[in-house]
Amino acid sequence: MIETMSLGRDFKVRGVVVPAVHDLTFGVAAGEFVGCLGPNGAGKSTTIKMLTGILTPTRGRALVAGLDPARQRKALARRIGVVFGQRTTLWWDLPLRDSFELVRLLYKVDRNRFGTRLAELTEVLELGPFLKTPVRQLSLGQRMRGDITAALLHDPEVLVLDEPTIGLDVVAKAEVRSFLARLNADRGTTVLLTTHDLGDVERLCRRVLLIDHGRLAFDGSVAELRALVPGQESIEDVVAHLYLSSTRAAPRTPRRTPDADPPTVTA
């Protein structure tokens, strides 16, 4: 369902070429639930952006649902759902329901299919009480449920989420997690998510990818990940150990500075 071959992406920061993603090769089969871990600046978000067509790769290629994201972005948009935890695709001043209506028109979802799907999602994600509330008045948890709904209205085969649980309280987090698990189990939707929350990984992901310095550092199950660092009780310690040791072992590559984060347009 998702396939990358030697995928790479450079950024130019004040005239210096800085690679954010070096050489990334992995595949995700239909119906999998994959979590993507990695320290800040490892290249996770850049990878997600290349998989969704928001960024064009510098090297290598990617295939999502059989399409080239950069070249066939519009066709791909109808087949995948994308959620960015730190951003919103909803319209700030509009009631949630109106944002969904715009998404429907934008992605040309059939009215009946839209109605059924929205009714389902409203029930499962309990959107009912705030469907008519303007997005600016929603809590972060409500907004996130709204964003997830907007990403799923066209019933995509693949759902890609970039830090979907960031900033959510324990209850909201649990709700989002159980919803994603059900989506994957009941509908067979392929899910790829990035996160810093190891609870997400432990509870949801059957498979973990660890990205570090723009390279794939680990690919396997959570149990296998634990086995890498014997004697550590919590998964937090295991991952912290891996992050630290990889930083020491790997040749120092120039890290991206926070002010050169790719989504900001100002260079």
Binding site: K12, I54, R87, D98, K108, P263, V265, A267
Partner: protein, 260 residues
């Protein structure tokens, strides 16, 4: 067809979005009316001393005054940018640029909705107040409606470009200040452009700002053949929207291909 519904819906949302800020619109209408009265007395003093100045009679000058006060809202004469300016600063614009609908048409529909609302909320009150307190001339040419809409589109085209500059400048406040100064001065808001001396008048009358305020007001007053006025506005519509489309693809390249 589906596209048309999308843009129609965006128009409605633009209208509704602004209608939620009713108090702001009424406060704006009140201010525009009060300043209209002040401006009217200045113009009356001027025209009583020099009748027929700039080719206007006294009544035409007063009409011009209240009419242009009513343009402040829909034409955004104080030159504020479009709502997606904030999304450029936060980087969210990357997601708007990859939507399967062009940003230009998208924001044009929304902005026309905004203008439609502000026409009701901020154009009618000063015009009615002016008609009640002074003598005003009704629209001489039926083409005024067309000219008014073209004026809004020219204003949109200009503000779209101003807003997009944020993609290249870290802080766009300077550009916005410059834009509002230019618009306010060269549109005919300060004084009818016919009063400007020599080359300044030529420049002002050829500028897109004239197409926002001076030209629609002149069409209302029937002061020039409507076809040349509309042709002039249409030229700026095509030029600014064309530049806007070019600037959008440059911005998309910068964001999507170069990554900022």
């Amino acid at each position: 067809m589906a596209d048309f519904v999308l843009y129609l819906r965006l128009f409605q949302y633009g209208f509704r979005r602004h209608s939620t800020y009713l108090a702001a619109a009424l406060a704006g209408a009140f201010t525009n009316t009060v300043f209209g009265v002040l401006r009217a007395y200045v113009l009356i003093a001027l025209w009583e001393a020099r009748p027929g100045l700039a080719g206007y009679t006294l009544t035409e000058a007063v009409t011009f005054c209240f009419l242009t006060q009513g343009f402040i809202g829909p034409m955004q004469v104080f030159g504020r940018g479009l709502s997606f300016g904030d999304r450029i600063r936060s980087g969210d614009i990357a997601f708007d640029l990859v939507r399967p609908a062009p940003l230009l048409l998208w924001s044009l529909s929304e902005d026309l909705g905004r203008a439609a609302y502000l026409t009701l909320a901020r154009s009618l009150p000063p015009s009615i107040a002016g008609a009640v307190m002074f003598t005003m001339i009704g629209p001489v040419s039926p083409w005024f409606a067309v000219s008014f809409v073209l004026g809004v589109v020219v204003s949109f085209g200009w503000r779209y470009l101003v807003t997009l500059t944020a993609c290249w400048t870290t802080d766009d406040r300077g550009v916005h200040t410059l834009s509002s100064l230019l618009t306010f001065f060269f549109s005919g808001m300060v004084l009818p452009l016919g009063l400007f001396p020599g080359w300044l008048r030529t420049v002002a009358e050829a500028s897109p700002f004239a197409a926002m305020v001076q030209v629609p007001a002149d069409v209302w007053l029937g002061a020039e053949p409507a076809w040349s006025a509309l042709g002039f506005q249409l030229f700026w519509v095509v030029a600014l929207l064309g530049l806007g489309a070019l600037a959008t693809s440059a911005a998309r390249r910068k964001v999507v291909v170069q990554g900022g």
